[in-house]
Amino acid sequence: MSELSVNHLLGIKYLNKQDIQLIFETADHFKEVINRPIKKVPSLRDITIANLFFENSTRTKLSFELAEKRLSADVINFSSAQSSVKKGETLIDTVSNILSMKVDMVVMRHPNPGAGVFLSKHVNASIINAGDGAHEHPTQALLDSYSIRERLGDVKGKKVVIVGDILHSRVALSNIFALQLQGAQVMVSGPKTLIPKYIDKLGVKVETNLRKALNWCDVANMLRVQNERMDISYFPSTREYTQQFGVNKDLLDSLDKEITIMHPGPINRGVEITSDVADSKQSIILDQVQNGVAVRMAVIYLLASKIKQ
């Protein structure tokens, strides 16, 4: 197995186990590259990549841009705030215009679920989904699994609990698919109002008592409360959320075993996790950020190698 089974990375749903294995092995090599004195390789010097962000993003955009530059690709950036989208241009028109400038690959974040899939059917370029609404965020799930593999040796057989706003989270869905594909067990925990009704159909355990969930797991992935996506109140107050679903050092120390703490960022310190937890040895939050660049380099490299000249 030396190449990906897909031409686009639209979601973890479309990948198989060997794809993930290949991405991780390639990411291992790129992780070594980005720790060299000169952190750049010339592989993609004849590839142009457009980063289209129709929704705000800081770290994902930076991480993608850095990954692209470390591979020597030419990069153009676009964010909808300053664009013709505001003037009423359609998604296909916007992207076709950009592609007519000879762009080979598109990294897109869009507020609408399925935007990447839609685009992949209508334009001639490799598409990487950098988050589509509350649907999928495949590179985040890949870097999360990669970080678990790095810390614990393997993802297979591990127990992972995803805590927080599952309902609005694309990170949660992609993580569930990725972890299950690699043979991990997944549980979700959070206020009942923020857990989708039929999530158990995905083979996921549900536990609304955080202490029980943490005692079960090897890894806890703490999601951010996405206030910007909530049109109504899903819980009475942030204070109450923190009391029931926030992780602090006392709770962590009182568990039967030492678990690993993850967070996709940005952290609301003092809400879903306290500062001493975020900065503790059990936390791999900053490893996730570094691995994000290596994993994205691997994804871009592997997809780019399928673009024929």
């Binding site: 030396s2 060299r36 004195p37 390789v41 592989s43 591979l71 780019a304 190698s305």
Partner: protein
């Protein structure tokens, strides 16, 4: 598919010792020299040379690295297959060092061209030399020649030179294989 033995285990052993002696002649105690085996197949030769230098010629503190050139190759997207990388293992800075690239077969010279670019990521070496076990004559695409060669061979284009190593392929030998 027919194959012919170019070198047997005994001949390989004699050549390796000769190459080791030539290295000592030019690099004395190896205090400022590093051996870099090129992935994937050059690393076996580099490891073996380091072993001979250490055990048979009592050279101490040989610095040895493995360099993967996959991401520096000039044929990315030009072949059918995705290029798979190998591990790079260089845990020292090569700034001002004398480097000896070690590879099993020198053919077009393109791998060496890639290695010359790749090594720059680890600093600015003082000088770079090239050692190859087999030098295929009349097949170069680039102006690259070895400083140390085990055996020079004339091979036509539909033939392939395969170097086997005891550690990996159960015997030390060099075959000429007709495709």
């Amino acid at each position: 598919m027919s194959q012919k033995v170019l070198l047997n285990a005994k001949e390989v052993n004699i050549i390796l010792h000769r190459l080791a002696c030539q290295l000592i002649e030019n690099h004395n105690d190896f205090s400022n020299t590093v051996l870099i085996g090129l992935q994937p197949r050059g690393v076996f030769l580099a490891d073996r040379l380091a072993k001979i230098l250490t055990e048979d010629y009592k050279v101490k503190n040989i610095k040895l690295g493995h360099l993967d050139i996959t991401f520096y190759r000039d044929d990315f997207r030009r072949g059918e297959k995705t290029l798979r990388a190998n591990t790079t293992k260089i845990n020292f800075i090569v700034e001002d060092k004398n480097i000896v690239f070690v590879d099993d077969v020198l053919y077009t010279g393109r791998s060496i061209r890639a290695a010359l670019t790749a090594i720059q990521s680890f600093g600015r070496p003082n000088e770079i030399e090239l050692l190859t076990l087999i030098d295929r004559r009349f097949s170069r695409h680039l102006p690259i020649q070895p400083n140390y060669r085990g055996r020079q061979v004339d091979v036509i284009n539909n033939e392939k030179v395969k170097v086997n190593w005891k550690e990996h392929d159960n015997e030390d030998s060099v075959y000429l294989i007709e495709k």
